[in-house]
Subunit: 191 residues, 2 copies
């Protein structure tokens, strides 16, 4: 019927996400994308339309990936406090910490000037906070986590602390410094 595509769309999307993650939206050129994916500009246009559309798909992909990790972590059979510790470890163990978080990077690059980008970012943070809140709630029920603040307040507190470390990652803080800050921030919510 027609000439078949010579590459895997999902692979290209994933690799494009990596490039955007490393370099940001504006600083990523089609040359960068072609070098990394092996796919020429026009072929990218065929599937993803323009650069912004590809970027938006990359954001969605990133969010899904991130939330999946959180959900798996939350679903594990362990104490809520251990879940938080496990989350802390996973934040520290991401290869290439210096990249920060694609959503955070994008939030700062775009500000609020692109509605769809903003929506994607808010969605991810909202979903992340919901999962955090689940953990907090069960922790509070078992009296393992302070009830000085509501579960929502604590979830948003934890999310904010994580966002802070994302900046530190990008500004050259050592893994040790980040580890220390996360340790203190997470310990604070114990009773």
């Amino acid at each position: 019927m027609s000439r078949p595509r010579e590459f895997d769309v999902d692979r290209v999307l994933h690799q494009s996400m990596e490039v955007f993650w490393n370099k940001g939206f504006k600083s990523t050129s089609y040359e960068d994308l072609t070098r990394t994916t092996g796919v020429k500009k026009q072929s990218l246009y065929c599937i993803f339309n323009d650069k912004r559309a590809l970027f938006l798909k990359a954001l969605v992909h990133y969010r899904e990936q991130y939330i999946e990790i959180l959900e798996k972590l939350e679903a594990q059979e362990m104490s809520p406090v251990d879940k938080l510790e496990s989350l802390r470890d996973s934040l520290l163990n991401e290869e290439a910490t210096y990249r920060g978080c694609l959503m955070v990077n994008s939030a700062l690059e775009f500000g609020t000037e692109d509605d769809q980008v903003t929506r994607e970012i808010e969605l991810m943070f909202a979903e992340a906070e919901q999962i955090l809140e689940k953990i907090v709630i069960s922790g509070q029920e078992q009296q393992l986590i302070t009830t000085r603040f509501s579960s929502r307040e604590l979830a948003s507190y934890l999310n904010n602390a994580i966002l802070g470390t994302r900046i530190q990652e990008k500004s050259g803080a050592s893994r040790e410094q980040i580890k220390a800050v996360l340790r203190v921030s997470f310990s604070m919510i114990l009773p």
Copy 2:
């Protein structure tokens, strides 16, 4: 001896800083700078050399300004806890909250790929943390602040929480949300 300059260098530096703060380094063009300052490109080159040199001076200016505010706040005659509250208010009351913090924005825009930019950012955060630590120490001495953690840990904890809100500012969080997160984060360190 020579033709006198027709504008005030400090004013132009300050206005340039504002432009960089609003738009970021890369997205700021000489056209933007000229529109805001009223000074043409070549004149800017005369004084500041190139765009990056002007940007670096803007960073220094920003840091000095920010640290001065913190120092004044710290020097006031009030309880350490009130100082922290006052700091919290000043974070919320900056006009144009959506701009975030120039240093944070730059940290994410540059990553660690420009040594001088990185140094400037680290310097500001280090100075800010030192001032926070002073406040924490006196708070701990008066038993107004927890001693579960060292003053250094708490200072870096507070700084991290502030960084987190800087991102939220840029990603469209409401002032109320930010206020709530700061309230929780600052309350955590009370005994």
